[in-house]
Symmetry: C2
Subunit: 199 residues, 2 copies
């Protein structure tokens, strides 16, 4: 059976977005720092000309794409990313979990809206074949996956910043879980910690 | 001038102690896991026969001792550790921050009680000479040091466990801070992330 792998970018103090996140600064104050590794270095809100990931960060992205057969994301992430300009940013079918699928006016060739995490997971597993299902976050969908005990691998990309507020990845998460660190990749912009989860 | 280095053990979800910490299980449910690296592997409350740190973990401890000229700890940590059996566990003078110095019945040859973090830091700096002042936690003292902007280096020893509750290191901490990762050391029991802090 395929594996379920989850990945998310996080600050040293555990936030996936900084304080005061709102339209125009969707990752909050200082939150750009979380995604330096994805954009190839420093950028700020309004920058149109970011390069993509480079070096070991590029390798991380490529490897995840290669192993992935379907992607699951959350509705908040979809909205924050402004639907990636209306175009699926992944190479595989992209399932968006939302309680209001009918509410979304998007190209069904680009995004598949599913009402509920478990239904999205079932469809993504079927689609992925012998490749992985990749859960890209946000925090809510990732917590649901961890709560359900279905995640085989979790990668935290820890940006070297204390944000001092914002949205916590593990906010309200109460399921004690043993992990095993299987890989550390260090780039100038993040420390990628890959954990196996033994359910 | 000497440097101020801080170190603490933490779970993947940011806790320095698990849920339901109380006498007999001072690190909370599952919290022993945070200190496997210090004790050379799995142990549980009531174990008298733990070995010390081994391998790369031993090296980490030895290096910190070697570079350290004075240590600062918090009163809660002192109480939780039951005063380390009445004997200073470090090789250097050990300053304990407490608002109730007169409340403590301890050998002044072993521990120096100081009323307030800044006073403890001043005394520790004077004592350390050209070596480092080592802040060992707990969370409250470490947050005070970070808030004051006096920490040059922060080492987080991340145990591979999600505790799902307990005491958060960065609880209520709002000072946004840029870090630089300078070293990663991976042991079977923890990932030691050493950061420089640029004030």
């Amino acid at each position: 059976m395929n594996e379920v792998v989850a990945s998310i970018s996080i600050s040293v103090d555990g936030y996936i977005a900084g304080p005061d996140d709102r339209p125009g600064q969707e990752l909050g104050v200082g939150g750009e720092r979380l995604h330096y590794w994805i954009f190839g270095g420093p950028w700020t809100y309004g920058d149109d000309q970011t390069t993509g990931a480079t070096g070991v960060d590029r390798h991380i992205v490529d490897e995840w794409n290669l192993r992935s057969g379907a992607v699951i994301g959350g509705r908040t992430t979809y909205d924050i990313a402004r639907a990636w300009g209306g175009k699926n940013p992944w190479e595989n079918e992209f399932f968006i979990v939302t309680h209001r699928p009918s509410d979304v006016d998007a190209d069904p060739q680009q995004f598949t809206f599913v009402d509920g995490f478990q239904a999205a997971l079932d469809q993504a597993r079927a689609k992925a074949g012998d490749k992985n299902v990749h859960i890209m976050g946000g925090a809510n969908v990732l917590r649901q996956a961890l709560e359900a005990g279905v995640v085989d691998e979790l990668m935290l990309s820890v940006a070297p910043v204390v944000l001092g507020g914002g949205k916590r990845l593990f906010d309200g998460f109460a399921r004690q879980t043993e992990l095993q660190l299987v890989q550390v990749v260090q780039s100038p912009w993040a420390t990628h910690l890959r954990y196996r989860i033994h359910q």
